[in-house]
Symmetry: C2
Subunit: 383 residues, 2 copies
Amino acid sequence: MLETIRAAGRIARIDIAKAAGASPATVTAITSELIAAGLIEECADPPLQDAKRGRPRVALKIRGGAHLVAGVKVSHHAASVVITDFEGTEITAREMRLAENRMTPAKLCDEILRSLDEACAAGGLALGDLSGIGIGIAGLVDARRNFVYWSSSLRERNVDLGRMLEARVHCPVFLDNDANLVAKAEHIFGEGRNVDNFIVITVEHGVGMGIVLDGRIYRGVRGCGAEFGHTKVQLEGALCQCGQRGCLEAYVGDYALLREANLNSETDHKDIDSLFAAAGAGEEIAGSILDRAGRMFAMGLANVVNIFDPSLIILSGAQLNYDFLYSDKVIDQMKRWIVQVDAPIPEVKVHGWGDLMWAKGATAYAIEEVSNLTVRELAANAG
Amino acid sequence: MLETIRAAGRIARIDIAKAAGASPATVTAITSELIAAGLIEECADPPLQDAKRGRPRVALKIRGGAHLVAGVKVSHHAASVVITDFEGTEITAREMRLAENRMTPAKLCDEILRSLDEACAAGGLALGDLSGIGIGIAGLVDARRNFVYWSSSLRERNVDLGRMLEARVHCPVFLDNDANLVAKAEHIFGEGRNVDNFIVITVEHGVGMGIVLDGRIYRGVRGCGAEFGHTKVQLEGALCQCGQRGCLEAYVGDYALLREANLNSETDHKDIDSLFAAAGAGEEIAGSILDRAGRMFAMGLANVVNIFDPSLIILSGAQLNYDFLYSDKVIDQMKRWIVQVDAPIPEVKVHGWGDLMWAKGATAYAIEEVSNLTVRELAANAG
């Protein structure tokens, strides 16, 4: 019911009953409990009109002040934090450079806490004011268990990062793969609004994927599905940072491009910017590197279409600042490599937002999970 | 509600109410309508016991005699037909050799009708006794529209096969990709019972896939998802029967193996049997062909695990009579090529059933769709 109210923004009880297929009496009973618990509130201004009889109706909305939540995106170089109220209204946002790219679990906890402290301070808040913290991190994360099997930000495997953080923050922590939180952000704030089946592909240091089916993130049974970057595009192919060969990421990730770009002692490309500029200036090797990356990426996109047949693919992430992964040539190749049917092909949209939007996805996740926890508590107290 | 009764087999009204979250009064009203429409019936024998008070309860069950349905699987060489009652009890089954492998739409309609006539005759029935016909065919099928974009059984693209057949059989026809109907059969009768998230991969002439998520077949928005056989495993690789290059099918389908096996004028393998025997007898080229097919298939399986992270993968189809696609070596390669997490890997089960079980999946689909139609008619008459 909270989800219905949140999705609607403002909604009358009778419309909640219709949406939920419940009786008006049931809705009145449940909404009374939610009001008593401070999660929702009545708002008479502006009044909703009863379509039939013209009588004004009292609308219900989420009570923004009910809870404060934080969303954190841990990227290769930085931690980005957004703090919002329970309606999702942003209170403060903050980016902090990380001490190292790859850390021990204890050090990563320190860094996340430091970024949260800084963000809270900037918003005139204390850490203790937060009711929940959503965190997105690259790698293999079992969101149900708050558990990190592997992350490029961590020096160790199998880290119970959720529990480590919860011991220090005294509020629940909700951990997820960062690409899932981008998909969540796209679904709630971005290009995926009102789209119930879409795929998000993120290209940054690595390649991630978020799958939204019937309006929900699809995570797989162990919490490590959607590993698009580690699907193999070449038998015994290029070495990937995961230690295996032939992963898509080993052809399009920034590290993959730079290791090729700097093969000759003559070149010293520090970043993709430099490689991209060289290709633009007509340098043949630079052009060939980006060209192959585009071709491999087109093949990966075609495979996604052949498997999911989605209505929309959203490309997101820092590498999308360069067009070699979504040039007309790449999209044309994708079109040629999907199964050919006389029906419209999926739309491909590029949405190159920054880390703060990823963090906003983490706040959306935290709001959802804090809602679930609160409702479960209410039910337990009632029962 | 029909689905609940079908899944339970026999169930009391009060348990339907619990399962559906509806009031007993609502359940009584709806079941009365379904009984009046002849879709379900009371059965007192043996009586269900009320757990608390020991009073016998009247159970409801699907009325087998309500409808007869047929399921047809069109394969490369044959059409297999199963006719069942509305409870799914088999009345007759029949396999018929097709006149040609690839036909005009009119000829395929003739052949399907001939197979249905033969099956009806064998069961002492007439075509007019059927309330619905489910048909599984290889290729790109939009099940929602009963439309075939492309099939290896058809000489033309974009065939409105459902409508063509319905003009001649006078009952609804429900067309689907054959692999989806295998997935349906596995879910209802086979290895996928009580498993809500699993993947079926079929290897016959081509390579197919059925995706079951949350207990439902996932079809994609245009009805042509799950095209696993046409995902690319090699950029600009081997030529596929679809006309593109590098499709998995072009490495593991029977035609792919035979074109390699018969490269030399010295060899003349007519079928996979012969190739498999040669490999078993230590013939090096035959061994190398099957070995590469196994490696490519392992790579495809690993990609499925990396995307879906399912609890179960079921391998099904005629080619599964030979173990080169699921030998220990193939499964070991799959294990090495999936993302490595300290959690159990998906189970891989081999279920090499014949065409009649595929046809049984088509009957299950027909029963489901006839149920939906009947319920919709009831609602329309009531409204």
